[in-house]
Structures are given as structure tokens and as C-alpha cells.
């Protein structure tokens, strides 16, 4: 029985494929006739926002993407950065927001699977993962269900695949009620002389399909992810893919084995828009045509149409161009791992994307226009309105100890242990720092002293108030967290999550955030080497907070000198490095104002990038010299929360007495940027001030001393560590009903 590929192309059908009338006209001009149903599906898959970056491309081009250590910038499956000794780190962050809202377990699981595949497609063995998660307000009826599903989905996939999850973020805000964010990061290690790319080379070579079979799951997923949600969202569940980490683990081993055999010319994983996107990318990048015969594609369901096969987002699949003489060897490797191996097509010299099915040509399209010459928009945007700064004397008061306890036990600042204990943080035996510190750290296998640090950061409330400053701050905080463990920040990946770009005010957020990110990356020498844009995060016209997540990677030359956040000993001096002359000052957009006083007004703290760099380089130098081993950066909740975290991580208390007599609220809760806490043995303080601090141009006054089992902040009552830990650790389990 033949499967029909003839469906009448109507205006409704075009709209249902997310194509605008002008885009359809462009298709007609390109093809010179009415497209077939399969062709319409292919255009929809390639030209949607998710795959084409058509709204963001113009602005993404302004980001710095080059640097001394950058081997591969954006445009491939992941970015590649040199870490010396013939090794490189391959990494990227990617969103799986829309599917995770519709079906949290599988949505999050396949997000992890997708990003891991991006990394090993390039020839790297994954060594670390992170996840930046944003959920709606805790009391929203769907939030618990989403948290539970997403966390177990991430664990279910990552744990079985075998990669340690070493960092991430979990935030709650009402603005994510209808659109949660699941941003998955993965990094892998490869040899610099064995990086694999997607660009096909050579005419008449076999195009090989590898991995799992093609089913009907995920058909149209990328198009779904390029639209806003409404009340009928549940109808989109069939567009969510189903993950199989077991197959992915086998695929990893088989791919690495195959790559080592020298058989691979080009490789591309099948992610969004599956077979279509992977084949088009390989061909378009290599200036070659591709011809596929769908009768040879391994399928797990019968009677699949060409349209379904081309748009399926079944997971754990790869497409490769192989050296013909190595075909047999390649097939044997895949059979050994129980995976499918099929020659499904060939490269051609005519720059056409031809699809054959049951003896019929069901698509014949110009490959370049589908791929690297897809439409691009310069969407109208308006400058975001800046909020008024808080008045200098507008300092709402609260008891410092009460406020600190409340913040430590709040939805957004409480411990995330409930989450990360469901992730395998130790597998591979190289984890030096797991979640709970400033950055995750993993040692580089095969090297005696080197380690890589990972951090994922953004403060969406800052971005909402001022996208430019918020963009800068996201980069600066990531850079600061890497620095705080002693790592030299190398490069970053960006995952830009925004609302509907067709609204000028949303487009304005995107434009200004990218401008801020670019500015910070340039000043800090922290190029963007990969990334992903997720737009249309809106439900019934309500957009998410602008959330440009930055995932950064840093290099530690000698991990024996790495710093941690917990106090190391009693009686040590606590120094506030990078302190402004007038101490903490900035309460606008702070968590203190939001969570203690219910206020979200004011400007976010500005980031002085020159100051940031100077202070960060100074702190990193102190760590490398072995002068300090205890470091924590200041961020949400300011000085008070940072001190509490250092105390809770160690079981050692502190007394902060040097700031008495000043207005305590801005000092303890202000979120001024570019600051770190470090400790130093008291007997070395004089030496430190004379030999290291004096000519540095940096302020690092002592603010207190470690010791005891309480935290005493200025004139406030002392808080027992046990009370802080109780508040900090109990919120999440209680929230989830454990």
C-alpha cells in the first residue's frame, strides 16, 4: 500500500505550519510552483524561529565570538575552546522550555539528551552538565508538578547516560507561571586534533543514518517551540519527544569508537526538525546537495509518510557522511552496540535537497535557501523604559537577623539540595566541587593538576528592570563565580529566553540584553562560542521575565589551590574585596526589597566592568598563589546571605563587627556588584595588606572574624548556625511535600 503525500495546500495549512503569508510567497518564488505537503513541512521546520534564528541573527552577530583560545565559535553543534596540552573543552547550552511545560519529564529529559548529543557529535566525551530552571510562583497549582517532573526527567536522563551534573539554577517567579524555562548545559573533553564538524565534503559519498529508529514522536516540535502558548496547550503533547538514555549512552560509545576509526567525514545529530535539519545543515555548509531515499530509513512504526519521517524528532539519532572504504568497519561498530546503521542517501553536486519515497520524488528544494540563507528579520524594537532609581533615603527597615533568616528560608534563596541530590554529581570520579558552591569543578582526566569550572547565571529581575545592565550582570556574575573558585574564565555559551519578538518592547529587551552581554564579554575577555535563542515564551500575551542565561567555562591550572565557599578555620579575618568606599549601597531590585518588603522598583545594580575585571583578576591571583582558599562572591541577598552561606557550608560562625555604626540594611543586603569575601589567617593580615593590597588599587577591608557557632552581623542579634541551616534546608522538601 502506498502512503499518500498529497495534501492540498490551503491558507489554514500554511498558517498551521507557522509560516507567514510573506514567507509563503518567498517559498513560491524559490520553488517556482506550489510546494508539496512534504516540502511545506520542510520549510516550516527550517524557517521557524527555533532553527533559523531569523529574529535574533542580526543581533547575535554583534557578540564577540573570537579569542586566543577559541577553536570553534557559534554555528556548529557546540563551541570549542583550547585548554592546552592538546585538549579542548566542547560546550553549549540549549533550551527545552516549550516541551518541558507540556510534558515535564520527557521535555526535560530530551533537553538533556539533546545537549549531550550536541557535545559528543563533535567528538567530545561529556564530562559535566548543568541545568538552569525557572518555574512559576511556588503556590501556582502547576508548579510542584512541573518541578517534580523536570527534576526527575533531568536526573532520569543524565544519571543513566552517566554525566555528572555539577551546577545550575532553580528560580521561582510568577512570570514563569505559563512558560517554564529548562536550559540544559553540557561540556565535554576532546583532543584538539580530533574535532568533528557537520560540513559535508565530497560528492557521491554515502549519507549514513545511525542510532535509534524513526517514529512519529516530536513531529513538528521545532515549529511548536516557535509559537506562544494559549489555553489549548495540552493538545500539543504529541509534539514532545520521548527520550531513551540507554540508546544515547550506546550511541556515545559507538560514535567515539567510530570517530577513532577515521571513518567519519561529517556528522550531525538529529535534534530539532530531525532528519530535515541535520541533512540540510550538512549539505548547505559543505555547498553540496543531499539526496535521501526514505524507504531505507529505519522506522519503528509502519506506514509513516514522507512528511512524518522528515519532521519526526525521535531522539538518539545521527546522520554522518562516511568514507566509503570504511563502511563495513563502521557498520560493525554500530551493530556491536545494538544500534541501527543504514545508508539513506548520498551527497550530490547540484545543491538540491531531494527526497525520494516509494519511488516518487516528494521534495526537491534549493538546499542553501533552506539552510544558511533562510529568511532574516530586522524586527522593530523600542528602547525599554528605565525605572526610576530608589531615593537615597528610601531604605525600608527590618530586623537584620529576622530578614536574613527569612531570605535563607525563602523560595529563591533556600538550599537546592532537594534538586541536586536527584542528580548524579559524582559519576566519572572527577567532581571536585558539586552544586552548593560558586561553581562546579571537574578535574581534567589524564592531567595531574588541571580542572574545569562551570557556572550558569542570570538575574532575570535585573534584566526586566534594565535589559542592558541585566545582560552585563549575567555575564559578570558568571565570570565572577568562575573566578571565585580560582578559575580563569575562558568562554561562555548564551541561552537567550524571551517573549514574542514580534512585539517591539520584547524585541527591545532582546536587543539591549545582547548589547549588555556583548559589552561585558568584550571587556572581560569572555567570548560567546555557542548558544541558543528561545523566543515566544508567552502565554495569553504574558511574557516571561527576560532571561539571558550565561553558561561559562573556566580553567584552573592547579586544583590543589582551588577555593571553596566554606570557612576553613576559626579566628580568620574576613575581608570584603572590591568593597566600594561607602560599602553596600544598592537596594534597587534586591531580593531584600522584593522578598521582605514586596517591592520590585528601582534600578538594578550597575556593573562597572573595569572594576569587575580588576577585582576578579586580583582575587584569582590570590587563589593561585595559595594566599586564600576561602572565597565567595556576593550576589542575591548581598553580604548577609554570602556570609551565611560560608558559615553554613563549614559549620563555623562569624562575627562582623567592623561595620557597626553604619546603616545596616544597605550594608548587609545591598547587591552592589564586583565583590568577593575571602578569609585570611590573622597573623598574615599585616603582610597581606603591605605586600599584596597596598598598591593594588583595590579595597579589601576586614569586616569581621570567623569563629563560634553563630553568625553575628553588626548590632543584630546572633543567629545560631543550626537555625540558619534549618531555615535554609527545609524550604524545598517542605514545598515538595517530602
Amino acid at each position: 500500500m502506498t502512503i499518500s503525500n498529497t495534501v492540498k495546500i490551503t491558507d489554514e495549512l500554511i498558517a498551521a505550519h507557522g509560516l507567514k503569508p510573506d514567507e509563503y510567497q518567498r517559498i513560491l518564488d524559490l520553488v517556482g510552483r506550489e510546494p508539496t505537503f512534504t516540502e511545506l513541512g520542510i520549510f516550516s521546520a527550517m524557517w521557524n524561529e527555533h532553527c533559523s534564528y531569523k529574529s535574533s541573527k542580526k543581533w547575535l552577530r554583534t557578540l564577540p565570538t573570537k579569542g586566543e583560545v577559541v577553536i570553534q565559535g557559534p554555528g556548529e553543534n557546540a563551541g570549542v575552546v583550547d585548554i592546552g596540552d592538546g585538549d579542548c573543552v566542547v560546550f553549549k547550552m540549549e533550551s527545552h522550555n516549550h516541551p518541558s511545560y507540556i510534558e515535564p519529564y520527557q521535555g526535560a529529559a530530551t533537553g538533556v539528551g539533546g545537549i549531550l548529543r550536541d557535545v559528543f557529535t563533535m567528538g567530545a566525551r561529556p564530562i559535566a552538565a548543568m541545568n538552569a530552571l525557572r518555574f512559576g510562583e511556588p503556590d501556582h497549582p502547576k508548579t510542584r508538578h512541573l518541578v517534580s517532573g523536570v527534576v526527575s526527567g533531568i536526573g532520569g536522563y543524565g544519571n543513566a547516560f552517566g554525566v555528572p551534573t555539577v551546577g545550575g539554577e532553580v528560580d521561582f517567579d510568577a512570570r514563569y507561571n505559563g512558560n517554564i524555562l529548562v536550559n540544559a548545559f553540557a561540556a565535554g573533553l576532546a583532543k584538539t586534533n580530533a574535532i568533528f564538524l557537520s560540513e559535508a565534503k565530497g560528492v557521491g559519498l554515502p549519507v549514513v543514518y545511525l542510532g535509534a529508529k524513526t517514529g512519529r514522536d516530536g513531529v513538528g516540535g521545532a515549529t511548536m517551540a516557535s509559537a506562544e502558548f494559549d489555553d489549548k496547550i495540552d493538545e500539543k503533547r504529541p509534539t514532545v519527544q520521548v527520550g531513551d538514555p540507554f540508546t544515547e549512552k550506546c550511541l556515545l560509545e559507538a560514535c567515539l569508537e567510530l570517530m577513532a576509526s577515521g571513518a567519519v567525514i561529517a556528522i550531525q545529530d538529529m535534534g530539532a526538525a530531525g532528519l530535515t535539519c541535520s541533512a540540510v545543515e550538512m549539505g548547505a555548509k559543505g555547498d553540496l546537495g543531499i539526496e535521501l531515499d526514505l524507504d531505507t530509513v529505519p522506522v519503528r512504526e509502519e506506514q509513516m509518510s514522507a512528511y512524518e519521517m522528515m519532521l519526526s524528532e525521535s531522539q538518539e539519532r545521527m546522520l554522518m557522511v562516511l568514507r566509503p572504504e570504511k563502511e563495513e568497519e563502521a557498520e560493525a561498530i554500530f551493530r556491536k552496540w545494538g544500534l541501527d546503521f543504514a545508508i539513506v542517501g548520498k551527497t550530490t553536486d547540484d545543491l538540491r535537497f531531494r527526497i525520494l519515497h516509494q519511488g516518487e520524488e516528494v521534495a526537491n528544494l534549493p538546499i542553501k535557501d533552506l539552510g544558511d540563507q533562510a529568511p532574516e528579520y530586522d524586527r522593530p524594537w523600542i528602547e525599554p523604559k528605565k525605572p526610576a532609581p530608589l531615593a537615597k533615603d528610601d531604605i525600608p527597615q527590618a530586623d537584620v537577623a529576622d530578614a536574613l533568616l527569612k531570605l535563607l528560608g525563602s523560595a529563591n534563596l533556600s538550599s537546592r539540595r532537594w534538586v541536586w541530590e536527584q542528580y548524579d554529581t559524582l559519576i566519572q570520579g572527577n567532581s571536585l566541587q558539586i552544586p552548593g558552591g560558586d561553581a562546579g569543578v571537574v578535574r581534567v582526566e589524564g592531567h595531574a593538576t588541571k580542572a574545569l569550572a562551570f557556572s550558569s547565571d542570570v538575574t532575570p529581575r535585573y534584566c526586566e528592570a534594565d535589559p542592558y545592565e541585566g545582560g552585563k550582570q549575567a555575564v559578570a556574575e558568571c565570570w565572577r563565580n568562575l573566578t571565585a573558585v580560582g578559575a580563569l574564565p575562558l568562554a561562555a555559551t548564551d541561552n537567550l529566553n524571551f517573549g514574542n519578538p514580534e512585539r517591539p518592547e520584547i524585541m527591545g529587551q532582546l536587543v539591549k540584553a545582547i548589547e549588555g552581554i556583548g559589552e561585558a564579554c568584550r571587556t572581560l575577555g569572555f567570548p560567546i562560542v555557542s548558544g541558543n535563542v528561545s523566543l515566544y515564551n508567552e502565554t495569553n500575551g504574558q511574557a516571561i521575565l527576560p532571561t539571558p542565561t550565561i553558561g561559562g567555562v573556566g580553567l584552573i591550572h592547579d586544583w590543589s589551590k582551588m577555593a571553596r565557599i566554606g570557612f576553613a578555620a576559626e579566628g580568620e579575618a574576613i575581608l570584603l574585596v572590591g568593597a566600594p568606599a561607602e560599602w553596600g549601597t544598592h537596594l534597587g531590585q534586591s531580593v531584600y526589597m522584593r522578598d521582605i518588603h514586596g517591592r520590585t522598583d528601582g534600578t538594578p545594580p550597575p556593573v562597572d566592568l573595569a572594576h569587575e575585571k580588576k577585582v576578579g583578576d586580583f582575587v584569582r591571583g590570590l587563589i593561585a598563589e595559595g594566599i586564600v582558599t576561602v572565597v565567595h562572591d556576593l550576589s542575591d541577598g548581598g553580604l548577609a546571605v554570602a556570609l551565611a552561606e560560608m558559615a553554613m557550608a563549614s559549620g563555623i560562625g562569624a562575627e562582623v563587627s567592623q561595620l557597626n555604626g553604619l546603616s545596616p540594611i544597605p550594608i548587609f543586603f545591598g547587591e552592589d556588584q564586583g565583590r568577593y569575601l575571602v578569609t585570611i589567617p590573622r597573623e598574615r593580615l599585616e603582610w597581606f595588606n603591605a605586600e599584596r593590597l597596598k598598591d593594588s588599587g583595590i579595597l579589601a577591608p576586614q569586616i569581621g572574624t570567623t569563629g563560634g557557632r553563630e553568625l553575628k552581623l553588626g548590632g543584630a542579634r546572633a543567629i545560631p548556625l543550626a537555625a540558619m541551616t534549618e531555615a535554609h534546608e527545609s524550604w524545598f522538601p517542605r514545598f515538595m511535600g517530602d
Partner: protein, 228 residues
């Protein structure tokens, strides 16, 4: 002292285990593939952790029925030492080489954290480097580690000293009966345990409490290497 590690599709702590055996034993172990029916002459076979065959059907159930496990059982019958860690423990139970069952954690969630273990029997080939009753640190990382056995089996295990490791100081992470973390067979040459001693063997791991297991089985040679 020759050792071998069983490698099955879906296992993922094989590299951790190979690293531990290499670092502590001084030479890398052999690896054995799922379809191997003959195992070379070795003194120790280790089945590492992971998710063999995706843990589909039931943890360890498919692996237990692969050809390689018949060969492992034959070796065990001849007195060769066998250790199953995590998924390896589940496989040994499914293969009938150890009694009882490993059920889903009482919390119904995957759990990865450090726990305390008591060496319940230090008079075994696997624990002779520890002292009796010694409390050690050790990480766990599993979804199905809730050990269960019927009362009769349990009484036998307890009575014969076959309970080798027990979760201590209230750190039982999975609801295991009698806080059981690891057991051995009657012959004393097959050990199964849920925790991962291979992930706590050096300074980089923040401790080396897991070394004792490997030093016990790898013998004198390893102790010399460790001290050097």
C-alpha cells in the same frame, strides 16, 4: 593479582571502576564484553554500576541473562572473587548469585549523596583492611537500592556474618531492611553493595575511605603501592 571488569551496554561507572582498580592495584583490569562466554584466568571480577540495558524490565534483569553472566557464575563457583557495585549488585541478585531483592528507594527518588557505612564484618576477603565496626564515608547514587529479603533469609544473612556493610548513623538513603548496604554469599567470595567505594579513593574525591575495599581484595601488592 589479576582483575577484570564486566562491560555491558548501559553500564556507566565502568570507567570509574577501571580507574580505581588501576590506581590501587597498579595495573589496569581486563574488560569483558556482554557476549563473552569465556573469562580469562583472573582472581577478581567486578561488575560496575550504571543502567545496564537501560534498567528496562527491572534493574539488572536483562544483564543477569546475558551469556557473560553464566561465565561469571562459573568462575564464582570455582572461588574467584566477584564484586557487584550498584547496578552490579542488582545484576548479582537478579542472577541468583546473591539472595534478596533491591527495590525502588523508599523516597521513590534517585539519590546521590555521601552516607556513613559501618563495616559489619571485617573478617572477609573484601573488608580485611578495615577494622570491625569501623565507620567509613561513602557516596551512593541509585534509584533502586532498597534491599529486602524474607525473614528466613535475613536471619541467615545476619547469623552467618553475610551482612558486610550497613548504613550507619541514620544515613540509610533508601529504606533498606536492617540498614543493609552490602552482602556476600555463603562462600564469602561474592560481594554486592549499593555504595560506590570507587568514587572515594583519593584526595580529589575529598577522602579515601573507599580504598579499604580494593586494598582488601587486591592484597599485599596494593598496600605497598598505596603507601608509596
Amino acid at each position: 593479582m589479576k582483575s577484570a571488569v564486566v562491560v555491558l551496554p548501559g553500564l556507566n561507572r565502568d570507567r570509574d571502576m577501571i580507574a580505581a582498580l588501576t590506581k590501587i592495584g597498579g595495573k589496569p583490569p581486563l574488560t569483558i564484553w556482554q557476549t563473552d562466554t569465556e573469562i580469562p584466568d583472573v582472581d577478581l571480577i567486578v561488575i560496575p554500576g550504571g543502567f545496564s540495558y537501560g534498567d528496562y524490565l527491572r534493574c539488572g534483569a536483562i544483564a543477569a541473562r546475558m551469556p557473560v553472566m553464566r561465565a561469571v557464575a562459573e568462575k564464582a563457583a570455582k572461588g574467584v572473587m566477584v564484586i557487584g557495585v550498584c547496578n552490579g549488585f542488582q545484576i548479582l541478585v537478579e542472577a541468583g548469585m546473591l539472595p534478596g531483592a533491591l527495590m525502588r528507594n523508599a523516597s521513590l527518588k534517585f539519590v546521590c549523596r555521601e552516607v556513613k557505612l559501618q563495616v559489619a564484618n571485617a573478617n572477609t576477603a573484601f573488608t580485611r583492611s578495615y577494622s570491625a565496626g569501623q565507620i567509613i564515608r561513602c557516596p551512593v547514587a541509585h534509584h533502586d537500592g532498597n534491599y529486602f529479603a524474607d525473614p528466613e533469609t535475613l536471619a541467615r544473612l545476619e547469623g552467618e556474618g553475610q551482612v558486610v556493610f550497613r548504613y550507619a548513623e541514620g544515613t540509610n538513603p533508601n529504606g533498606s531492611i536492617n540498614d543493609i548496604a552490602g552482602i556476600m554469599n555463603e562462600g564469602g567470595n561474592v560481594l554486592g553493595l549499593m555504595p560506590h567505594p570507587e568514587n572515594l579513593i583519593e584526595h580529589a574525591h575529598g577522602g579515601s575511605d573507599g580504598r579499604g575495599l580494593f586494598e582488601s581484595v587486591l592484597g599485599e601488592q596494593s598496600r605497598i603501592l598505596t603507601e608509596a
